[in-house]
């Protein structure tokens, strides 16, 4: 960027093409605060543009400022103009470094940046020189994964940057067809599940579809699921938990059945609140455990008696001995 020269001139706003976003990667922004500031004190930092042909300019930096100018009817403004010898690649880098110096980029912006860098650099160069700049691990896999976010529908991309949908969960959604993805997202976005639970639900839906060779639509047609979603008695977290369990049961019918039977058996043993009987995780190991607490000798005696009764449970014996 040795020959970068900047000239300052007043430009007619109409000479700057606001639809030309060659160098722009801003995504998911709000103009309201900036607009308020510009209305109060005007534009302090002039936007940077590059002349593309006679009296036609392309935005390099200051996209949001220019959008506001248009909205509030500013006709002419002082602008910084890059000489036309500057390569497009360098103009893009000017905007990139300018943004990196003063704000945090969201993941969709990062994916737009990478996809635009691909016009100018090879993947290995981007991986080595630019991913670390963007705070990403320098691996081809990360590059592919990040760029692929651009394939998601706008609604889902917005949900990622506004924290409605976890980024990892969004990656899982990419495996679905456009139609199924929209459907799954529609349901999930209303349930406010944690990151891990979003991923779990999406994975389970996908696995069920693959296993049964069906579409998301046919799974979502279930009366049980729709009853949960339409219920007036359940709040959102309760609905989220029920929906999660619904898909888990469909995905792992035998395991969920065993877990439910264990809970039932434990209830029948009437161990009380101070004794916890646990099965091995996923029933894989052979170690069951009992935990209890007590505050007096009498409570201790009582607990030990109850624990002793576990050995008489036929269901427990069957579980342990097969």
């Amino acid at each position: 960027m040795k020959n970068m020269k900047i000239e300052y001139r007043r430009l007619d706003l109409r000479s700057i093409d606001l639809d030309d976003t060659t160098f722009i990667f801003s995504y998911g922004f709000s103009l309201s605060l900036l607009r308020e500031a510009i209305e109060k004190i005007g534009i302090i930092n002039p936007p940077l543009v590059k002349e593309v042909s006679d009296n036609r300019y392309r935005i390099v930096c200051g996209y949001k400022r220019l959008l506001i100018c248009r909205d509030i009817g500013i006709k002419e403004l002082s602008s910084a103009i890059l000489n036309d010898h500057i390569e497009d690649r360098d103009a893009f880098l000017v905007n990139l470094y300018d943004n990196l110096s003063h704000r945090v980029l969201n993941i969709i912006e990062k994916s737009i940046i990478i996809s635009k860098l691909q016009n100018y650099y090879t993947d290995p160069t981007i991986v080595k020189s630019f991913l670390p700049l963007l705070g990403l691990n320098p691996h081809q896999y990360v590059l592919n994964r990040t760029v692929s976010l651009l394939k998601l529908d706008e609604k889902i991309r917005d949900a990622i940057i506004f924290g409605i949908l976890d980024e990892g969960a969004a990656f899982k959604l990419m495996n679905f067809s456009k139609k199924d993805r929209a459907l799954v997202y529609e349901v999930l976005s209303n349930l406010r599940l944690s990151k891990n639970k979003q991923t779990e639900v999406i994975e389970n839906i996908y696995d069920i579809m693959k296993r049964d060779g069906c579409s998301a639509l046919s799974i979502f047609d279930s009366k049980e699921l729709n009853d949960i979603l339409d219920s007036k008695d359940l709040n959102i977290p309760q609905k989220g938990e029920r929906v999660r369990r619904f898909f888990r049961r469909l995905r792992y019918p035998n395991i969920v059945k065993a877990e439910e039977e264990f809970i039932k058996m434990r209830r029948e043993l009437k161990l009380g609140d101070s004794i916890k009987l646990n099965h091995p995780p996923f029933f894989e190991g052979d170690r069951y455990s009992v935990q209890f607490h007590f505050g007096s000798i009498d409570e201790l005696k009582d607990n030990l008696k109850k624990i002793d009764s576990i050995k008489d449970s036929k269901k427990m014996r069957k579980l342990i001995e097969g």
């Binding site: 081809q140 495996n175 696995d207 069920i208 693959k210 296993r211 995905r251 792992y252 019918p253 035998n254 395991i255 065993a258 995780p281 996923f282 029933f283 894989e284 190991g285 052979d286 097969g322």
Partner: protein
């Protein structure tokens, strides 16, 4: 099955004069050969390719094994292991099994033959001579298929006669191929067991791409039986799907219609299990495969396994069918817990890896 021929051969200059290199050069006239000083560069170049797994299988690299040729099977203490020793003469394989653990396990996609066999024999001598009272079961089929390259490298010409002269070891060559021509005239002295990985024909067709049919594997076993070899069979991985019972029963029917159970040294069973990272690899490389969508739980060794009652059911039925053919068949489970052993065999004979090793050694000798 059409025999494997690579599209390109890379020879590490350090092994250009080895016996295996000469064997292959005699048989692969016309295949482009490249001599290199640094085979790592070749591997790195292939790894960068979009379809590196598939591309890598087309390249045969002959190089040195700079580590140890013999290593104990990497069992875990949570599950009972047969205590087998692995002789690592090659890694990777030309076949395309959707479930192949090598896809997640080894970090290079190229088919590699370790041609510095002098070092291998020195290691073997050292191991077997140091403990003459110990009985060793040694196998080559852990990181590759033992016979898939045999028509090219004739590894069996070296290894089978070597074991024929040993008193305290048996060699197990484990394969899915019917590539047994080289073996038939070899002097084996009963010390080489030829083993096949068997499955249902449905699984073989859908999941074991490029591998011979079950019928071809059984026919190859028959040829080995006729030449006095001891045989073994591994039902590993047992795959759960709708119709698995008929499928496995049919395979057993076909097997015992041709083979004499008396010639079978052992039969192992192991339900499908996989490193968690294999799931996405299978989904990407074999989008039609459904094997990862059954009910899996994280095992105590970190691998995903079928929910325990499913495993117990599969093993128990298989055992029952096997015992119907011959109650004396030596059947064991690969990497299963004491609890599963107990439930399947309904006895408490095998409590730990040492018990299993003893059981298998008794049969081997």
């Amino acid at each position: 099955m059409a025999a494997y021929f690579p599209k390109r051969i890379i020879i590490d200059n350090r092994v250009k004069d080895s016996r295996l290199t000469h064997n292959i050069m005699d048989k692969l006239l016309g295949v482009p050969v490249e001599y290199v000083d640094n085979p790592i560069m070749v591997i790195e170049e292939i790894k960068k390719k979009e379809n590196s797994f598939r591309e890598g299988k087309r390249i045969l690299l002959l190089t040195e094994n700079r580590g140890r040729f013999i290593k104990p099977c990497p069992g875990t203490k949570e599950y009972i292991c047969c205590g087998y020793q692995i002789l690592n003469f090659a890694t990777n394989c030309n076949m395309e099994c959707s479930y192949c653990i090598l896809q997640a396990y080894i970090n290079n996609p190229v088919l590699i033959v370790y041609a510095n066999t002098d070092k291998m024999f020195m290691e073997l001598e050292d191991k077997l001579n140091k403990k003459p009272e110990t009985f060793f079961r040694i196998g080559t089929g852990e990181f590759t298929d033992s016979l898939t390259l045999d028509h090219l490298i004739s590894f069996s010409d070296l290894i089978v006669p070597y074991f024929a002269g040993k008193k305290n070891a048996v060699l197990e060559l484990k394969t899915k191929t019917d590539n047994v021509d080289n073996l038939l005239d070899l002097q084996h002295n009963g010390n080489t067991i030829i083993a096949w990985s068997l499955n249902t024909q449905e699984v073989a067709t859908k999941e074991e791409l490029l591998a011979p049919s079950i019928g071809d594997r059984i026919d190859a076993a028959l040829r080995c039986q006729e030449n006095g070899f001891l045989l073994a069979f591994h039902f590993d991985p047992l795959i759960y799907y709708q119709g698995w019972e008929e499928g496995y029963k049919r395979t057993l029917d076909r097997l015992f219609a041709k083979l004499n159970p008396k010639n079978i040294t052992w039969i192992s069973m192991g339900c499908f299990r996989f490193l968690p990272e294999l799931k996405s690899i299978i989904q990407k490389r074999f989008p039609l495969s459904k094997i990862v969508y059954e009910e899996f739980v994280p095992g105590l060794d970190g691998k995903m396994r079928y929910y325990k009652p499913i495993r117990v059911e599969m093993y128990s039925k298989m055992l029952e069918w096997l015992k119907d053919y011959d109650p004396n068949l030596r059947v064991y489970l690969c990497m299963e817990s004491h609890e599963v052993w107990k439930r399947v065999f309904r006895d408490n004979r095998i409590k730990c890896s040492e018990d299993l090793a003893r059981m298998l050694e008794a049969k081997s000798v």
